[in-house]
Each structure stands twice: as structure tokens, then as C-alpha cells.
């Protein structure tokens, strides 16, 4: 039951849709195992969407496909109102288009300081040669300070990324994502390993980001957190959409209870 009822059949590249992100019939198999099975959905500009689903449902794989890490066997992935075919681009190009990602397993630059981690992520010049002579601007400095405020790692800024605890790395990675200032944020399990209070803060943060016009897709198993987000929820199962709607609607779904929430 894909949301975009008007999905085109393959190939044409004119403006297909108003959607910011558009997936249609995406299938991914690993050695015969179908991780994604004709997955279709869209994300509108400015929308925030929560994705839930059993372990192994394909949520992370979905993000891999969107960010160019995994190539789909079949199906279309378009960005920016259908103007850009993501399956033809590599990770860097997709990132440059304005799709940022936080990984399920927090990945930060281990031998850089927390500060440098943010500096590297900060939106701006990406060309190799130009970066040799790059100078940090006052604006950039301010922006970094702002982010530090948000992620509460100010006192850790001089430490090496690799020496942070698991939860601190989660925060740092969120900070890096903020620094990138992407149009679309893909956030994979941001609150894993956070305390309940931090979880609430993260929800607040994401809402804020969303309010500032960024689209967000967030994967999480923490129902409290999903509830705090208060957005449309989509439940994946065995590589396709099982249910979609508000959290209450989705969590009332019999199948969702059966395969995911448990009784």
C-alpha cells in the first residue's frame, strides 16, 4: 500500500512527483535473501516520518539504498521532486545533494577530536584542493558552538572521538548530522543507549530540526520516543510496508502487534 498512488512505471525522469524522496518497487536481495521487497513510499518536503519494524525488516537496508551504499536490484529511488535518480549516484554525490545520515552503529572519526569531527561535518567546501587553504570563518565557529550547546559535548570538545562512550558517540553523530545541514535527515536508532531523559531531548531536537524545514526519516524501536515525535509512522516488515498512519493507528494494527510490538 504505497503512499504515492501515482508511481510511474520505470525510466521517465520528468517531475514525477511532488515528493522530496520517492521510492517505488525497491527490491534488494543478498545471496537470494530478500531484504527489501518491492518497497514503495514517499517523503514530502518538510515531512518527518518515523519508521518502525521488526529487527531485520529492512529499515537499515532502506537507508543504505537511499544513501547509495547498496544498489537496489529493482525499483526507483528519486530525490527532489523526482528530478534526481539516486540509484545512479554514489554516496558522495547523494550526500552533496543534501541527504545526511546517522548510522545505527555510531560512527565518528575516532582519531579526531570532537571539535574536528564537527568541523569536518560542517556544511561547506568539499573539494580536495580548495580545502588545503581553507580558513574557518566566524560564522562557522558560531555554528559549531551552537551545535555543541545542542549536543552537550562542549566540555568534551578536545577529546578524541574514539574515547567517547557509546551514548556520547550517538550525540556526536547527531551533532555531525546537524552540522551537515541536509535537506533530508536519515536517522537510524538515535536513542539506542540513551537514558529516558535524553531520549525525550532527542525527540525534541528532531522536532525542532523538522520545524526548521528539514525532512526527517527516523528509525527507532523506542515507542515512547516515537510517540514523543508525534509524526506519521510507517511499519516495515519483511522488506515492505506493513502499515502506515499515526502511531495509534499503526500500533492498533493486528499484524504490527503480532510481528513487532508483541502482546
Amino acid at each position: 500500500m504505497p503512499a504515492a498512488g501515482t508511481g510511474p512505471e520505470g525510466g521517465s525522469t520528468e517531475a514525477l512527483t511532488e515528493a522530496l524522496l520517492y521510492l517505488d518497487g525497491v527490491t534488494v536481495t543478498f545471496d537470494g535473501f530478500r531484504a527489501l521487497n518491492a518497497l514503495s513510499f514517499t517523503v514530502d518536503p518538510g515531512e518527518m516520518r518515523a519508521v518502525i519494524g521488526p529487527n531485520g525488516a529492512g529499515k537499515t537496508t532502506m537507508m543504505d539504498v537511499i544513501t547509495g551504499k547498496t544498489r537496489p536490484d529493482k525499483g526507483d529511488v528519486f530525490f527532489n521532486s523526482g528530478t534526481t535518480d539516486l540509484t545512479k549516484l554514489d554516496e558522495t554525490e547523494i550526500a552533496t545533494l543534501g541527504i545526511g545520515r546517522k548510522f545505527q552503529k555510531p560512527t565518528v572519526f575516532e582519531s579526531h577530536t570532537v571539535l574536528d569531527n564537527l568541523r569536518l561535518a560542517l556544511k561547506g567546501q568539499r573539494a580536495a584542493l580548495a580545502n588545503i587553504f581553507r580558513k574557518e570563518t566566524a560564522f562557522e565557529r558560531e555554528r559549531i558552538d551552537e551545535i555543541f550547546e545542542t549536543i552537550k559535548l562542549t566540555e568534551h570538545r578536545g577529546r578524541l572521538g574514539g574515547n567517547l562512550s557509546h551514548g556520547q558517540k550517538q550525540w556526536l553523530e547527531i551533532g555531525m548530522l546537524l552540522a551537515q545541514d541536509p535537506k533530508l535527515l536519515l536517522v537510524d536508532e538515535p536513542v539506542a543507549g540513551m537514558t529516558d531523559a535524553e531520549t525525550a531531548q532527542t525527540a525534541e531536537l528532531l522536532r525542532e530540526i523538522n520545524a526548521n524545514g528539514h525532512s526527517v526519516v527516523v528509525v527507532e524501536h523506542d515507542m515512547t520516543f516515537v510517540r514523543d515525535l508525534g509524526v506519521r509512522v510507517m511499519c516495515l516488515h519483511e522488506g515492505s510496508v506493513l502499515a502506515e498512519g499515526t502511531l495509534d493507528q499503526v500500533s492498533a494494527n493486528e499484524r504490527v502487534i503480532e510481528v513487532y510490538l508483541g502482546r
Binding site: T92, A95, T107, F109, T113, D116, Q125, N131, R141, M176
Partner: protein
């Protein structure tokens, strides 16, 4: 609120200043003590020491070039010797052409080895090498071009880790075999030798040797400052990030392959310069410079000195080569491999981050750096 350091961090740290200081002093003192003191005085630096030191400095520059890509980008090139050798050959070809009619066969154009293998004319790729500027350009261009082509393919295909290491080794091995072939027109196994003069100066004159030494020191200083500048720039930070988490870098929007390529080419050019300075001081360039074992040795120098520390790489090169010079003479000569091998094992066991790396660690432990991101830390971390 000023939590971010606003001062531009100093280009050279304390150890960098000491390093450059020592080199400047050496660049002045060694030639002076060699040329202006009488051989009997205690201060006199004999000419053979000058050439020896000059050779070490070339090796140090070479080690620096390896550290740039290994220490900071995680590219373990087992073929760095190839770039060194190409630079060396470019210089060697110039020196060869300067011999003119002074070769044993007295041929004004053809080098001796071509005459006795019955070559009738100079192969096209030797054209231009009679002009120093052309040769000087080739010194950086030849290794740079090879690195560009090789790196362009390899980095785009995302060849990484040991796979990259082994194909760089295959590259230098292939070049070794190719340059061994007499048909290649580079003098085969004997290589290029018996040089007479450089830019009109007798290559064996003490003054020329002293000048070459000073030039090597200068090249090392410039190379060091350049590397230091590179790794401390935003560019350099991306390099380190690539070393630690290449995928993450791509997802952040950086073209990792371009960064690697720039670093790789720069490193190859540095190696080429090192090779070019090395050849006139050593007096021979031959294909054994391409041998994979040579390239591995360069890695070993860097590891001994301390990977990812630049100064350490240079220091490692000088120390290991001094050890080699020292151990291969005298009563120890038959056992020098035990000494050198033992040294390598001991360094890994007792100075796991290399000499300089361990020193830095000790210094930081005694005197922890401020919790501030002033001093960038390219702390060598294991690649995994």
C-alpha cells in the same frame, strides 16, 4: 562565548621547530665545516660523511613522503620506491646526457650502454634530458603522472587496505623487471652511473657535494613544512578521517578518492625529488631501487621513527640508515642483520608507536594537552 580556538594554530609545533632548527644548522654547518676547516682539525667533516649525510636526508624526505600517505591517509604503499626511483632516473638521465663525449666510447649523444648494445640513435624518451629545467620538471612529473594514473584507477575502484598495498608492490615489481630489461633503454641492471657534472659543476668536487647536501637539507625542510601544512589543513583532517572511517567520509559529502589522489600524487612527487637529490650524491641509479624489499624498508623506517608524526619518519630513516652504515662495517659486519632485525623487533615491542610516537605519548602523559583542540592530533591509531 569563545570556546573555539580563534588563533590560527602554529604551523610548526615544538618538535617541528627543533627539527627544522637542526636541519638549518646542519645545512649551514656541515658544508662550512667540510669546506673551510682543515682536514686535521677535530671539527672537520670529511667529504664522505657529507655525502653520507646527504644520502640520509634524501631517505628522510622519502620517508616523509611515505608518512604523508601511510600515517595520515592509511595508504600503505609498498611501491613508494618506484616514485623515488623514477625521480632518480629523471635526474640520472640528465646527468648521463651531461657526460657528453667523456664516455668511454666518446659518443657525443649516446650513453655508453647504448653504444655497446649497438643502439644507433637516442630513444625518443631521452629527448630533452640534456636540459636541466626539463629534467627537473620530469623529476616531479614522471612519478606524479604514474601516481596519478595508478591512484586514479585504484582509488576510484575503491581498492583499499592490503589490496592496495599489494598492487603497489606489483607495480614496483613490474617496473623493476621492466627497467632490468636492457631493451628498455635505461641501462638495464647496471643502470646509470659514472656521472661527471651537474649544472656545469664537477659532481665529485667537495663544493658540489656540500651544495647537494645543503640542497637536500633544504628539500627536507620544505618537504616537512609542506606535509605539515597539508596535514594540518582542513584537507589534512579529511585525510585522517578517511584513514579512520572512509565510508563515513563519503557519506559526509567528501570525494574520498580525490583526497587520496591528491595526497598520493603529492607524496609521489616528494619521493621523486628525494630520488633526484639522491642520485648525484650516490653516483648511481639502477633498477634495484624498484625492488619491493626497498619499498618495504622505507615503511620500516617510518614505523621505527613513528608513523603519523612526520618528524619521526625522517628520524627513523636517518637512524635506520645510520645503523646500517654502522653495522655493516667492522667486526659486526657478519652479524649486522641480527642487529638490524633485532632493532626492528625491539622497536615494535618496546616502542610501539615508534620513537617519536612513544616520546609524544610520554610527553602527553606527563603533561596532558589542554582539553582544547589547539594541537591537532594525528595520533597514529591502528587502522582497524
Amino acid at each position: 562565548m569563545n570556546t573555539t580556538d580563534t588563533r590560527p594554530p602554529a604551523l610548526l609545533g615544538t618538535s617541528g621547530l627543533i627539527f627544522v632548527g637542526i636541519l638549518v644548522a646542519a645545512a649551514i654547518l656541515v658544508p662550512v665545516l667540510n669546506l673551510l676547516t682543515s682536514p686535521d682539525t677535530a671539527l672537520h667533516v670529511p667529504t664522505y660523511v657529507v655525502s653520507l649525510l646527504g644520502k640520509y636526508l634524501c631517505y628522510a624526505l622519502l620517508a616523509l613522503s611515505v608518512d604523508l600517505i601511510w600515517g595520515y591517509v592509511g595508504i600503505l604503499s609498498l611501491g613508494q620506491g618506484a616514485f623515488f626511483a623514477l625521480g632518480g632516473y629523471a635526474m640520472g638521465m640528465y646527468l648521463m646526457r651531461q657526460i657528453g663525449t667523456r664516455g668511454v666510447y666518446g659518443d657525443p649523444v649516446l650513453p655508453d650502454f647504448m653504444v655497446f648494445l649497438n643502439w644507433k640513435e637516442l630513444p625518443w624518451f631521452w629527448y630533452g634530458f640534456d636540459m636541466f629545467p626539463f629534467a627537473a620538471v620530469m623529476v616531479v612529473l614522471a612519478p606524479g603522472a604514474l601516481a596519478l594514473v595508478f591512484g586514479w584507477f585504484a582509488f576510484r575502484s575503491r581498492v583499499t587496505g592490503v589490496y592496495l598495498s599489494i598492487i603497489t608492490q606489483a607495480m614496483t615489481f613490474a617496473l623493476l623487471l621492466a627497467f632490468f630489461r636492457n631493451d628498455m633503454g635505461f641501462g638495464g641492471n647496471n643502470g646509470l652511473t659514472d656521472f661527471k657534472d651537474i649544472l656545469g659543476f664537477n659532481i665529485q668536487a667537495d663544493g658540489t657535494r656540500a651544495a647537494l647536501f645543503a640542497l637536500s637539507a633544504l628539500a627536507l625542510i620544505l618537504g616537512y613544512v609542506l606535509c605539515r601544512f597539508l596535514v594540518r589543513s582542513h584537507f589534512g583532517k579529511v585525510l585522517i578521517a578517511i584513514r579512520d572511517a572512509e565510508t563515513r567520509v563519503r557519506f559526509t559529502g567528501y570525494r574520498a578518492e580525490n583526497y587520496k589522489l591528491v595526497a598520493f600524487v603529492a607524496s609521489a612527487m616528494l619521493a621523486g625529488v628525494a630520488g633526484a637529490l639522491y642520485v648525484p650524491q650516490v653516483g648511481i641509479i639502477n633498477p634495484s631501487e624498484f625492488s619491493p624489499a626497498n619499498s618495504i624498508e622505507i615503511i620500516v623506517w617510518v614505523a621505527v621513527g613513528g608513523r603519523g608524526t612526520l618528524v619521526g619518519a625522517a628520524l627513523g630513516a636517518v637512524l635506520v640508515n645510520y645503523a646500517k652504515t654502522y653495522f655493516t662495517s667492522g667486526i659486526l659486519a657478519p652479524y649486522w642483520l641480527f642487529m638490524l632485525g633485532g632493532l626492528f623487533v625491539a622497536v615494535t615491542l618496546f616502542l610501539p608507536k615508534g620513537i617519536i610516537g612513544t616520546f609524544y605519548e610520554w610527553r602527553d602523559r606527563r603533561n596532558p594537552p589542554p582539553d582544547e583542540a589547539g594541537e591537532p592530533i594525528a595520533e597514529p591509531r591502528p587502522a582497524e
